[in-house]
Subunit: 82 residues, 2 copies
């Protein structure tokens, strides 16, 4: 069994209105140290697989077919045996 | 300037209907290797601060006052100078 931690972010060239809203909320609360903000998604998944290679291939397939919109989003992930 | 990567997850004891929906969608697409799924949020933020300690304190304050609902969510973050 492997634990996958998947990070999904908007591509750098894509405007992030949610991030802008959070940033302006932070500024209105006097957190002036915050300079940029991008909001993404985070998935934690347990994957049953015989080897790390199989798990990796499965996670990539799941990302490309359901979890991530490859037109506007990038993703990365970590795998850990558990 | 520091780059903060903030991971927000629902506490383990809190039911995650979004995660359950994603998991059942994965199963309906024949990704039977997926055993559990929890969905969270991910923030990437640039923070202007004099030292790593100050940056850390600022990020914790932002999390507790806006980014995280401490009743149902846990968070962790990494800081990197940039």
């Amino acid at each position: 069994m492997y634990k996958a931690k998947i990070y999904v972010t908007l591509k750098k060239s894509v405007f992030d209105p949610q991030g802008e809203t959070v940033l302006s909320a932070l500024h209105s609360m006097n957190f002036d140290g915050a300079k940029t903000m991008r909001v993404g998604r985070y998935f934690e998944m347990d994957v049953e697989a015989g080897s790390e290679g199989t798990a990796k291939a499965q996670v990539e397939k799941m990302c490309n077919s359901l979890l991530v919109n490859p037109v506007i989003e990038d993703y990365s992930f970590e795998l850990k045996e558990c």
